[in-house]
Symmetry: C2
Subunit: 136 residues, 2 copies
DNA sequence: AAGTAAATAGGAATCAATACTAAATAGGAA
DNA sequence: TTCCTATTTAGTATTGATTCCTATTTACTT
């Protein structure tokens, strides 16, 4: 991933390395604020702006995914292989879900008349097992 | 839809009627700002706040859908029947896409261990025919 | 090692969305 | 029709996420 920075003409800074390390090693699809807080555990002076700029740069180059679950903050995923997401509308938890077999989702015929599809995002919304248990 | 207001204990006001009329008769999935601008064509004094409150009230009661296409504004859809969306990443156009036959998308087995799925959102992202034509 | 263009920190600005207030208005039940 | 209450307006303020600004620092080239 750090190599991908160079390949895109981006400088490999200490901050960027740590930010990348942070999103690669987690599976909980954090938002920018969370990433910043965690990176500060190692680089206390990182500015929120730097995290935003780094994350945006990575996203624009397709090196990470953005998941829009609500009207509030964006969440990010370093796993860019094809997979889907389950979102808990109660606690906000996001869990990776494998795409089943071929395509996972088939486009209707009408789609080709509308435009060129570059990627498909599938979001399963509901309530996670923890929240189901909590509400009893 | 106006009936649904009453059923939910909401008063049927002139503003609400016109806001509902506006989102029901359009297929372009407008944001709140756009809805407000259009309603002002008929009720010049509608406040943006009223449009926000009405749209939120309808959304919370499941009478309209919210579509998050980018990190910016939310867009709304009066069609709550099961269907998917195509989003043009260049111009922001959103087009309704029928769900093909059964389910459209099958969940993996793992899903039942994660939580209870209440609905599935499918977003086809790409470039619409107009934007493909423009870039030549 | 030196130069330069890019990146950073920190704070300020922006933007969408919501909240708040008061006074005016209008829906709906009696 | 009358009353009560929810709703609207207008205008301001707030919140929270994201972006912009500027002086300073740093990575990479030669």
């Amino acid at each position: 991933m750090v190599e991908a920075l160079r390949a895109n003409g981006l400088k490999v800074t200490h901050q960027r390395t740590e930010i990348i390390r942070e999103i690669v090693q987690t599976k909980d699809h954090p938002d920018v604020e969370t990433i910043c807080r965690r990176v500060r555990g190692r680089i206390p002076a990182v500015s929120l702006d730097t995290v935003y700029r780094t994350i945006s740069a990575l996203f624009e180059r397709g090196l990470i995914n953005r998941i829009m679950v609500d009207a509030k903050r964006a969440r990010y995923d370093a796993d860019v292989t094809r997979h889907n997401h389950f979102v808990c509308d109660t606690c906000g938890r996001i869990v990776d879900i494998d795409s089943t077999g071929r395509g996972g989702c088939r486009a209707s015929d009408k789609l080709s008349e509308v435009g060129v599809v570059e990627r498909v995002e599938v979001l399963f919304r509901g309530k996670c097992i923890h929240c189901v248990a909590d509400q009893e």
